[in-house]
Symmetry: C2
Subunit: 354 residues, 2 copies
Amino acid sequence: MSKLFTIGPVEMFDETLEIGGKQVPYFRNDEFSQTVFSASAGLKRLLFNEKGEIILLTCSGTGAMEATVMNCFTKEDNLIVINGGSFGNRFTQICDVHEIPYKAVEFDEIELTKEMIEEVISDDKFTGLLVNLDETSNGQLYDLQMLSEVCKEHNLIFVVDAISAFLADEVNIEKYGIDAIILSSQKALSLAPGLSIVALSEKMLDRVNNIDSKSIYFDFKDYLNNGIRGQTPFTPAVRVIIELEDMVKRLEDKGIENCIKETNEIAVYFRKRIREIGLDYPNYPLSNAVTPVIFPDENADVIYRKLIDDYGFTVNPSGGKNAKRMFRVAHVGKHSIEDTEELICAIEEVIKKL
Amino acid sequence: MSKLFTIGPVEMFDETLEIGGKQVPYFRNDEFSQTVFSASAGLKRLLFNEKGEIILLTCSGTGAMEATVMNCFTKEDNLIVINGGSFGNRFTQICDVHEIPYKAVEFDEIELTKEMIEEVISDDKFTGLLVNLDETSNGQLYDLQMLSEVCKEHNLIFVVDAISAFLADEVNIEKYGIDAIILSSQKALSLAPGLSIVALSEKMLDRVNNIDSKSIYFDFKDYLNNGIRGQTPFTPAVRVIIELEDMVKRLEDKGIENCIKETNEIAVYFRKRIREIGLDYPNYPLSNAVTPVIFPDENADVIYRKLIDDYGFTVNPSGGKNAKRMFRVAHVGKHSIEDTEELICAIEEVIKKL
């Protein structure tokens, strides 16, 4: 028996696996258009984006981040990038390669505050803000209300990568005045990797329609046009879209508040227990999606390996300077308090045996 | 019972469906690296590209076509594009958007000859040639030997989209001096859509390494660097890569000549029978992958619909001016002479009942 406590792919649900095992159907027909319409309508409701549109991209989350920047901004813009980890850094690389002017709010494993952003903004004129709501590399959940206020006060186009926050933490386009949200299939949606989703607000649609795309594959206008008939311009990840439609229906039945509540309960339980067994987690605000576990004895890498070999439990190793100091445990996907407790017991046993 | 005679997705094999129904594993580890190494090594052998490299992209075939043009050419180049259908036309759009100079050899449902290309080349200086070996929109298989000679004589970088030709027609990097080959998962490889493959020759690797990528997601240098450890820079279509590794092993066991021979036998049988029942197919050379069936009574669209509703057989409808004149029948995927005959009988019955 093996179990994933990784942040993507995550432990998948039986209904999804059943779809995965079936023949992939032909897709240039009404039947598949209905699947796309149904998935898109459900996603609009789950994201509170009833007046906006949904774009289904066959690519990873990074592909969708890049596509969003390319289609929503030009060299005439000037962006604020929240760079508190490797995914924030990726947004800066994307701006660099597309020569979109930006200034980054740079920090490392401390809580992001409004003052830190205001200091970078100072007297300059900015047009947009890019943020990874849950900076997955270290688990920090940024304050969406605060970011929303900054964007309103400075009249900034607000782009939110909610790839790992969606379904784990509150994300609401209407309430927070978000203009684009980026999602990926293999996070809390618990589908196979290979599909990313961009939700554009009504306001952002105007912007996108007035920007010349510098790409054929990532031209949002082409996706929006094809979306009218429930299609994508190029062969999409058909199987993952069918999984998506099924998942979205089940999420709507359950209610998004209940999804977030369940994940929160698992995260809170895990964090309480991890301190009880003598380990720690960071003090900055954390997403419900993932907990970085800090090992005072700098043996995270050894324990990571033992959990796989002896228990079949896979967690997310950390890279670079954090490789020995911490690993990350995800709370999204098919998880319960019970298997979270099993993981805690396994970590405790491994440490005792060292 | 339903069966796909479409050119992608195609009818999948049981072994692939079994993988599709399983939990997608975590991928940033040695086990998945071994899967990537195994799939890449097998693809190198199947494509006769032992000295080159394989890049695994999470995108559609169009994404891979665009990525290849972006990474292999610059504004300093001047390309010949073979434009004999909608996929050739897509190459011209890609060159347009990336401002890569080109001249197109334009023609419509007639056989491409060396003279047609030489006429376009005339006295100009060109650096590369882009071709869709099987122009899937109308089934023409271009003469690879002739194209190879043109490229050698004019010292052109030779880029071949073999998305629907691979495994159905001969494709050989070494023998034909090809510099890049583009493949997609949902054609004759018979996997789910969402993964594309680019094979680069040894010579092309030098070129790629000297071109500044204008993209983060489609930066081949990043894929080549990560490929050294059996990884991709961004979360790939993990499940499709596992399916790919399994399929490549089975293709190697079977032998690529046998794959091509089997598909050829089905195509030849289908074409003989389609004329016996009073229908026709084009006179230009055809790929073994697909046969455009011409309906003298201009009722292809009606018969297309009846085949689905009454028999569960899906073929590829044609678009635009060909919508009533023809549909296309694919011979790749899990197919036999027997189910090809079933399709012929069904077409015959439908026509009789009209």
